[in-house]
Symmetry: C2
């Protein structure tokens, strides 16, 4: 039996003629569930329902969305064991602590933070100018299509993750496009969503799910007139094709594409605590078999004995560490290709370099090395992403070469600088930071980039090609919801016709910018 | 003699081989100044200087940008007579009150509001999470290219207008691309900018000016790696080509394209005050010879005697009103084409319809009419923009047809609803508002759209194709500066390395979001 798709609240047999199955990356065997590839006619029905739902949602108070998001978090928790088992089978990620104790609680926590943002309207930046009678606030942008990635089957899932939560909190219906590698996980989320919709009396089309489309239909989907915006996290090539389609139709699309997350280790840091940094880097780079968006894929170290000793120590740790299972054969292939490109460009292999070494789909923990001078001859090729358990060392001559390397980088999600805690590197830090700052969304000191806190101050974003727009974050509440809002301005609109959040009486404890000052007070 | 271009603080003879002259639309004669078309090699030099300047500006306190913007406003005021004379000659817009008493003070006021935004950092939304040690703030996105339109030679000029002020307040250098129809006005602004740069000790490359490029070089300019973002206000066709180029390179581009600014007049409003509304509409639609981005180009009225009487009254006023001068023969041509398209689609001409009737380049005050049913058969063609002194009446059968018309609209900057002040139309209002709200950036009640206050609550923006992204406004401080910021996040960054605006001690009276609450206090 082929699993049905979720259209406007009903599980409906797909009209598509082709199907697919996910594979278990640990056993390399196909998993039993068969899932449909939806044809355009089906996607068109989904779009029509989303447009109707968006109309139905207009003016609905944030409290309703909050109740749904909280109920959904509860329904997910009820299904913890099934979700964890499905995601483990489909992605090879460890059950514990990763899936059960890390990613699932993060996901429900994120949904509850989104509920708070919806309830208080804190995402919507209400702005009131009493002198001119003009008031404005962010409101729903329209139906949002979310394409989730494979590396976080819960926390970034198109039907449960960050983009989903942000879009719902902003008052929009979501069309989730499941990732082809973990359809059963996604299906279980959809069941929880249906239960939460019923429990909270929300419109049936609030959350819809299709599992797969042709590439062409994906482009049509993100550029359809009925869509408000799209979110995509995944491979660069596909993301850029979707961006081209959405851009052509004037539809915002928020992308999270590739990022190699450079780490600069300054001489003073090595002199002070080389072993600790080697340990920390190894943990960060091999965590989740290196399949984090913020995995440190480029490490710039000073030349000379200290740098060499640091590299040797990391090589030793990588060689000794167990090799994890990769998410899919596709990840294995692109990792193989990525390392091959780096090697062909002149990087020296220090350890690893071959497929295998772990359970199922895997690739040896791998390190390569290139000189700063070589790197600067062709910065583009040495920034080739090798997404997985490996990294490239760049051995720089001095801080000014490190700064030049920083200046040569593409946009990244993160950049780290480790320096002497007593300030011995401060002059070098200033030079390197100046170059690095504009290339990364999040700058870290003395800390690896792989933890991404769900915080209002987080920026999980950065300049192109890390994302499609450097002004937005994909993680963090209430900030990530701004991506799915349009600015609704009211000019001379009669007081009783204003949305509650813009009326003189503050409808709760909403922070509003009134005549230039932020306040939770009523307007007198 | 061909006027030089402004590159990195110096007036340099252009290396281009072709030149152009502006025309006086009132006399239809060429104006004396000869201006260069800059070749790519020259644009490349400008880009290199902009990139160097952006590096030099990094970390510079907002106070410096504020001082420059204020000095620039002063320098502009010193040149008022020359600017007004030049703009009058180049655009045909009246000297007074329009240019001298309206647009020029608006422009310097806007620069001074931008200065305040830069000084206080109020545009940058600093956000601090003390629990995680994560802090973030908007900072400069990189060099900004601004293409200004012809209809506001001061307030939207690429070297002095809204986008310019917003980009500088955000800490970016600006490359201004002057509008080909008013180069002398733009040149005079550049002289004022050079004086202000000198007076405030800012880097010489803060403001650069080129007058014209080939189309291809324009596309290269907005997609160049050294650019942070672009702003464009003007014709849809050109804007979409620039958008395609910028999008392909992952560079944000903020567009303000076409908008027909629908006005819905409900039955109760006509019963109550038809004459006043006819008067108000006529004033708004003919102001500036109809060449406002927010000019009301579509008026939906109820059928029957009251609607017919209202239309007749407006026709009378349009026929009697003097015909203004248009900005250029290009505007005259596109206006002619726009009306021709509407007529060919089936709209009936009520008055006007022919070129001429005023001084110089002009077109008769024109009104057309179509039924709601006809409109709904082909909403796209009846939304053809006719930019200038004319409008299309749509005679609707009832409120539900009005709502259907609202739902059929493309994105617009504004939408107005006039209704009975005692509430007789309130049920109809609710239905029409629901459809119209998502199609317009600014919703007005009982007021024409042509005034655009420079207010923090203003949205001069809207869904595509009115603009390229519905979340941003092009007018209003500090809000419009967000378009030219990227989100800089600091994670575990040592306290003394944070920008002043994110340090525990509040550097002034900056509003910051600290642990979810907005405050101007220090962090203890």
């Amino acid at each position: 039996m082929v699993h049905p798709v979720l259209i406007n609240g009903d599980w409906i047999a797909s009209s598509g003629t082709s199907t697919f199955q996910a594979a278990n990356p640990s056993t390399q065997e196909l998993l039993p569930g068969e899932f449909p590839v939806s044809p355009w006619s089906e996607i068109d029905t989904v779009l029509a329902a989303a447009a109707d739902t968006a109309r139905e949602l207009r003016g609905m108070p944030g409290e309703k969305f909050a109740a749904f998001l909280e109920s959904y978090a509860d329904e997910i928790e009820k299904r913890t064991d099934d979700l964890v088992a499905a995601a483990h089978a489909e992605t090879g990620l460890p059950v514990s602590p990763r899936l059960k104790d890390g990613e699932l609680p993060r996901t429900t926590n994120q949904l509850r933070q989104a509920a708070a943002a919806a309830r208080t309207g804190s995402w919507a930046a209400p702005t009131i100018d009493t002198a001119t009678g003009i008031r404005s606030v962010l409101g729903p942008i329209g139906p949002v299509v979310v394409f989730g990635p494979n590396n976080f089957p819960f926390a970034f899932n198109g039907i449960a993750g960050g983009d989903f939560a942000a879009a719902i909190a902003a008052g929009n219906p979501v069309i989730a496009k499941g990732h082809s590698c973990h359809p059963e996980t996604t299906r279980l989320f959809a069941e929880a969503a249906v239960a939460a919709i019923a429990a909270t009396g929300m419109p049936k089309g609030l959350v819809q799910l299709i599992y797969r489309t042709s590439h062409e239909d994906g482009y049509k989907l993100v550029s359809d007139a009925r869509i408000g915006a799209a979110g995509y996290t995944g491979a660069r090539h596909t993301g850029l094709k979707l961006k081209e389609a959405a851009d052509g139709a004037g539809k915002p699309i928020y992308l999270e594409l590739s990022s190699i997350n450079p780490v600069f280790v300054l001489a003073g840091a090595l002199a002070e605590r080389a072993d600790a940094i080697a340990e920390e880097f190894t943990g960060s780079c091999l965590m989740g078999t290196g399949q984090f968006c913020t995995n440190p894929g480029l490490v710039v170290v000073p030349g000379g004995a200290a740098g060499e000793a640091f590299i040797s120590s990391v090589v030793e740790k990588f060689t000794a560490a167990p090799v994890g299972t990769l998410l899919s054969s596709g990840v294995q292939k692109s990792l193989t290709d990525g390392f091959a490109t780096l090697a062909a460009a002149g990087a020296t292999l220090l350890t690893g370099g071959q497929p295998g070494g772990g359970t199922g789909v895997s690739f040896q923990n791998t390190l390569l090395q290139v000189s700063g001078a070589e790197f600067l001859k062709d910065p583009a090729v040495f920034q080739t992403e090798a997404f997985g358990n490996g990294s490239l060392f760049v051995v720089a001559e001095d801080a000014s070469q490190m700064a030049a390397i920083a200046e040569s980088l593409e946009g990244n999600l993160t950049g780290c600088i480790y320096s002497d805690t007593q300030g011995a590197d401060d002059a070098d830090y200033a030079v390197i930071e100046s170059g690095l700052r504009t290339k990364v969304g999040r700058l870290l000191n003395d800390k690896m980039p792989t933890g991404v806190a769900v915080s209002a101050a987080m920026n999980h974003g950065g300049p192109f090609p890390a994302t499609g727009h450097p002004g937005f974050t994909a993680v963090g509440m209430p900030t990530s919801s701004a991506r799915f809002g349009m600015l609704y301005c009211y000019d001379n609109v009669r007081p009783d016709r204003l949305p509650a959040i813009l009326q003189d009486k503050n409808p709760g404890d909403v922070w509003r910018r009134v005549d230039g000052a932020w306040s939770t007070a009523d307007i007198l």
